[in-house]
């Protein structure tokens, strides 16, 4: 694909085609979703042997399972015989998946086969197949690589994809914040049961762009929610994030080679919100102090907060509130299925957990007073970009052009010198363009190295 005329990050101009074209969409499924690291779920969703969570990668259904050795697997949810989904439950526990079509059976916990996901049973194996079917070759397709990053499970279909730690680079501080408790301890969160899933009428990249560094939209898109106040109150009133008084000088961070981005720097953080309820306020002030102590002891930076995106399609509120993540699953060029997970420390007092759950639900998701206005914009921006005339005119990504400097905290990142910038988006599309133009990871890495 000739991407030069579609994406020009150096001059801040990007064609509408990449948001509405069928051809680009199909190419993305091959060159982005089949090759990058994608988020599947949290380990707290599959704590026990035989547990499974029906997840998704790109457009495809993928089963996240836990085997009897405690290992996690991600398996394409499609029978190798005729393709039927071997599991249409959202979650559960089983030692096997028996396909409802012809009965081919796959082991999930690994006790009946060499590796979880393998085919262990086929009807009429002797009389019909003469005992000659090599069952070890017909198991559920596993992902090529899978990691558990402090509880966050990621996988990729591409065996050539760089190792996860290389892929995330300095963005790991944002992921670490997502995976850590409010006291900063990694791996000490769990997911509330219930992943919100809903369909929106827009291209998936609008979602990623929104969180990776679009500070610009906040005051306009969300003017109504800050007028009514849904946050924790306390001394900074009930703005949606709570204590949202970070200095304007705090820059956004983005990764030119990797495509990730977030609205803060790794080195600066301003604390938890203040709450109107004195006990909850005191609780979080204590947690903040604990967090600072722990991060200093572990040599980890104290920032990397707030909205951010891991390329290509996982966005998160790292560290602050709401503690949540969203994955934008492509359905079509103008349709996306978004999934939202809500995370919580694994040791909160009941009243704190309850307070946070209510805040999360009124903030995010389709019933969230904040998120609703984002989706309205993505919907009609997409619709208004599908027309013949509209497609001739590119989008403007020139906010903060030529205002980025190397990050003070990370050697693979840049910071914008003004807190409102589209530098993060420009770098996101640099990465996008690199992947879309390359047929292999070797080629991607060579192109990246040349820059």
């Amino acid at each position: 694909m000739n991407d030069r005329h579609l994406v020009d990050p150096d001059n801040g101009v990007i064609s509408r085609e990449i948001f509405v074209s069928d051809e680009v969409f199909d190419e993305e499924l091959e060159r982005i979703f089949a090759r990058t690291w994608l988020f599947l779920g949290h380990e707290s969703q599959i704590p026990t042997t035989g547990d499974f969570f029906n997840s998704r990668m790109g457009t495809e259904s993928v089963l996240l399972t836990r085997d009897t050795d405690g290992e996690i697997h991600a398996l394409l949810n499609s029978c190798r015989h005729r393709g039927m989904k071997v599991c249409r439950y959202d979650e559960g526990n089983t030692h096997d998946f028996v396909c409802p079509y012809h009965g081919w059976s796959y082991s999930t916990d690994g006790t009946l086969v060499a590796t979880a996901g393998e085919l262990f049973g086929v009807p009429h194996y002797r009389a019909g197949y003469g005992g000659n079917l090599d069952r070890s070759q017909w198991g559920l397709v596993p992902t090529a690589q899978l990691v558990n990053h402090h509880g966050l499970i990621f996988a990729t279909w591409d065996p050539e994809a760089p190792p996860f730690d290389t892929y995330i680079g300095g963005f790991r501080h944002w992921l670490d914040n997502l995976a850590a408790s409010t006291a900063g301890e990694r791996g000490r969160v769990k997911v509330f049961r219930g992943v919100q899933k809903w369909r929106i009428r827009s291209n998936w990249k609008f979602v990623s762009e929104n969180f990776l560094g679009d500070n610009y939209h906040g005051p306009t898109s969300h003017s109504s929610v800050d007028a009514v106040g849904i946050g924790p109150g306390g001394k900074h009133a009930a703005t949606r994030h709570g204590d949202n008084k970070r200095p304007r000088s705090v820059a956004s961070t983005s990764f030119p080679d990797l495509g990730h981005g977030g609205v803060t720097t790794a080195g600066y953080a301003w604390g938890y919100p203040s709450f109107a309820e004195p006990e909850i306020d005191a609780f979080f002030q204590r947690r903040w102090r604990q967090r600072l102590e722990r991060l200093e002891a572990e040599g980890r930076p104290i920032g990397a907060f707030g909205p951010s995106t891991l390329f290509p399609s996982m966005s998160l509120h790292a560290g602050g509130f709401p503690r949540a993540l969203i994955v934008a699953h492509p359905v079509g060029p103008t349709e996306t299925e978004v999934w939202r997970w809500y995370l919580i420390d694994d040791d909160l007092p009941a009243e704190v957990e309850s307070w946070l759950r209510h805040w999360y639900l009124r903030y995010s998701g389709p019933a969230g007073l904040v998120e609703q206005d984002d989706m309205e914009n993505w919907d009609y921006a997409t619709e208004a970009s599908t027309g013949t005339i509209a497609r001739r005119y590119p989008y403007n990504y020139q906010l903060g052009l030529h205002m980025a400097t190397p990050s003070e905290d990370l050697d693979d990142a840049v910071e914008s010198s003004y807190f409102m910038t589209e530098e993060n988006a420009r770098n996101y599309y640099r990465r996008w363009s690199s992947l879309m133009s390359s047929t292999s990871w070797a080629e991607i890495e060579e192109r990246t190295g040349r820059r």
């Binding site: 959202d90 559960g92 919100q196 009514v228 609703q372 309205e376």
Partner: protein, 179 residues
């Protein structure tokens, strides 16, 4: 006809009239008057529906109070929703959607203490909420609803609403409607 039976029929009619009046208020966007029908201790929840094995039916619906729901809130949050719409800058409802609430299959489940001097009534029904927005954007939400209504000097008031939407993946981009 017994006096008991007559009292039950009249109560049913009164409840249906209340529910239809409530639907009128919402559809006519008389949101402040609708808020006045809500008790201060209102519980308003719409849990999510999961696909589970037939013998795990007790895990089919997420639990209000504990787990993620579409809605799990009280009167103060609903008041915020109304206030947000009234700013005129809630883009998801500006311009406003056209909404119709249909309420059917109304059945009185229980009456406390009796239909002669009822203090609290539990009502089951089906809801069908239709929304059309901007031009071609149309949504349909259908499901079961359980309401608890409390008798007050000013008439019936809503004390509890539990909605079971018949969808797994929400097939709408948002839930700005009040159910």
């Amino acid at each position: 006809m017994s006096e008991q039976r007559l009292a039950e029929l009249l109560l049913k009619e009164e409840i249906v009239e209340f529910l239809h009046h409530e639907a009128d208020l919402l559809d006519e966007r008389r949101f402040d008057e609708w808020l006045d029908l809500l008790e201060d201790d209102l519980e308003y929840a719409m849990p999510m529906r999961l696909n589970v094995r037939h013998d795990e039916a007790n895990r089919e619906t997420t639990r209000p109070g504990d787990e993620v729901c579409w809605f799990d809130e009280g009167k103060s949050t609903l008041a915020k929703r109304v206030e947000q719409i009234q700013t005129g800058q809630h883009w998801a409802e500006e311009p406003a959607s056209r909404v119709s609430h249909l309420v059917s299959n109304v059945r009185i489940r229980s009456v406390d203490p009796d239909p002669f001097e009822p203090a609290e009534v539990e009502v089951g029904c089906r809801f069908l909420v239709y929304r059309n927005r901007v031009a071609a954007e149309t949504d349909l939400w259908v499901g079961r609803r359980t309401d608890v209504l409390r008798a007050t000097p000013d008439g019936w008031r809503l004390r509890r609403r539990h909605l079971l939407l018949d969808q797994n993946v929400l097939l709408a981009k948002n839930l700005t409607v009040l159910f």
